[in-house]
């Protein structure tokens, strides 16, 4: 399927959305981990038209050069790079990791994760807010991985975050939106803040449900990386997310309890006669 299949393109008339002053057309943020090969990763990024990828930093073995090769792959892809602090458990670990990432990837962007426990990988919301405050003070553009808690969200915005990344469900669980009601409330509560659902997206319908709630973008990784055909799945997600944005703007219908004929009733043949 991949060969010859064109990448998803974004037509000229399409709206863009802004993250820390940069405009993007694609509303898919793609993780770069767990792909079968670097080639499959590159293919997935290209096929999806994705403009932002997340990356991490890990301990380097001397001479291995793995970091350098990955860096060159990123450069060739020509996408914006969003480093994360995955695996950090304390404010200090997260802040130091962010500082190292800024130097390594030459970007002030940081996807801030401070993890509370291994079972859910949920954010420790207290340390998250504290780390966000420190990093904003140091000039970072913080993308906080958070929950759907409004009291946490408000403190992150007060800290200076200009985007929020609430989780859909635990990272890698593929369960979709565990609490669509809370995510809907969050959208209403912060109508002007870019909101990106991060984590828990297992299939395109999960991403679409968030877009239909008016979310601005979707961050995912595992569902693409572990698909039998990652590039095809990346394309499917990207197309779905784009369609979700269009649908949201085009005006979704309300659901109804009773049926309503789509074909007009007026002029129905045989109407008015005893059953024939």
């Amino acid at each position: 399927m991949n060969d010859g299949s064109p990448p998803l393109t974004h037509d000229a008339a399409q709206e863009t959305f802004a993250l820390y002053g940069q405009a993007f057309s694609s509303r898919l943020l793609l993780g770069t981990a767990r792909y079968p090969s670097p080639a499959k990763l590159a293919d997935s990024v290209r096929r999806s038209g994705c403009e932002i990828v997340t990356v991490s930093l890990r301990r380097e073995t001397a001479h291995a050069g793995e970091g350098q090769r990955f860096w060159e792959l990123l450069r060739d892809l020509g996408v914006a790079v969003l480093p994360n602090t995955a695996g950090c458990r304390t404010v200090r670990e997260a802040v130091t990791t962010a500082q190292m990432a800024r130097e390594l990837f030459d970007t002030s962007w940081i996807k801030l994760e401070v993890i509370a426990n291994d079972d859910t990988l949920q954010p420790d919301v207290f340390q998250l807010v504290e780390a966000a405050n420190q990093l904003v003070d140091e000039g970072f553009d913080v993308f906080p991985y958070t929950t759907d808690d409004l009291s946490v969200a408000e403190r992150l915005l007060e800290a200076g975050c200009q985007v929020l990344m609430p989780w859909g469900a635990p990272i890698g669980s593929g369960r979709g939106l565990a609490n669509p009601y809370a995510l809907r409330t969050m959208r209403y509560y912060f109508p002007d803040v870019p909101l990106i659902v991060d984590a828990g997206i297992g299939r395109p319908s999960h991403a679409l449900a968030a877009m239909e709630l008016g979310y601005d973008a979707i961050m995912l990784n595992t569902a693409v990386a572990l698909a039998d055909d990652p590039a095809e799945m990346a394309h499917a997600f990207a197309a779905t997310i784009d369609a979700g944005r269009r649908a949201w703007r085009a005006g979704l219908m309300e659901e109804r309890d009773m049926a309503v004929p789509s074909t007009p009733v007026a002029g129905t043949p045989f109407f008015g006669f005893p059953e024939t």
Partner: protein
């Protein structure tokens, strides 16, 4: 002098972090560093003296989600 590099105990001769990076073959490599939990930028490495039991992190770009 014994230090811990990326979680492993190592005997090293380097006096500064810059020397250590050179000795490990990371001289020009795309790596970032921290000592005892604090970030040490590329430009600070030459000034950063090492001490016994220092915990040193040397990290590079990697895939992430």
């Amino acid at each position: 002098m014994q230090v811990t590099i990326n979680g492993e105990a190592r005997d090293v001769d380097a006096a500064t972090l810059a020397e250590l990076c050179d000795a490990l073959g990371f001289g020009d490599a795309r790596v970032a560093t921290a000592v005892n939990g604090d970030f040490v930028s590329r430009t600070q490495r030459a000034e950063r003296q090492l001490q016994a039991d220092d915990r040193i992190e040397i990290v590079a770009p990697r895939q992430g989600g």
